[in-house]
Subunit: 93 residues, 2 copies
């Protein structure tokens, strides 16, 4: 799968991400799109996946594999911090 | 699986949920625990799963199936609202 099929969720307006997903499947004819997010944006990633699959591309895409992980790193104050990550695959039916 | 093996994530202190998961696997000898959350608590559910699996019960439990879904309902103002949900299964290794 090309890296172009990844959508990273951040703090832009919600519909930007949904439109991004829909465009990948329609204009770009992708067979799979992976929605990725870290930390507090994980909830938003699930919202984007659900709205894309259940409101915009109903019966034409579905949620596939979901993976969670976490990365540990040292922050600016020198403390060990763990941040969770998620990858949600959406597949063309 | 008994309903008792479900942990619902809300706004209590973070470690309450991690301890809840750890107790299910240790004191209660559960073979599987399902972490459930809705809306903004979804990110927190992933954090609880990751901390339980990678810091407290390292090499003895792992994240299994993850399912996302959403429920549509009419809120108090009469508007249609969609809320996302997640279920993260943790399994004894």
């Amino acid at each position: 799968m090309s890296e172009d099929n990844n959508i990273f969720i951040g703090s832009k307006p919600f519909m930007n991400y949904v439109t991004g997903v829909v465009m990948q499947f329609t204009t770009n004819q992708a067979s799979e799109v992976v929605i990725k997010a870290r930390g507090k944006f994980i909830s938003r990633a699930v919202d984007v996946a659900e709205v894309a699959a259940k409101r915009f591309l109903v019966n034409s895409i579905a949620v596939g594999n979901i993976n969670v992980n976490s990365e540990e790193f040292t922050n600016r104050e020198g403390r060990q911090v763990r941040v969770s990550t998620i990858e949600i695959a959406l597949k063309k039916l």
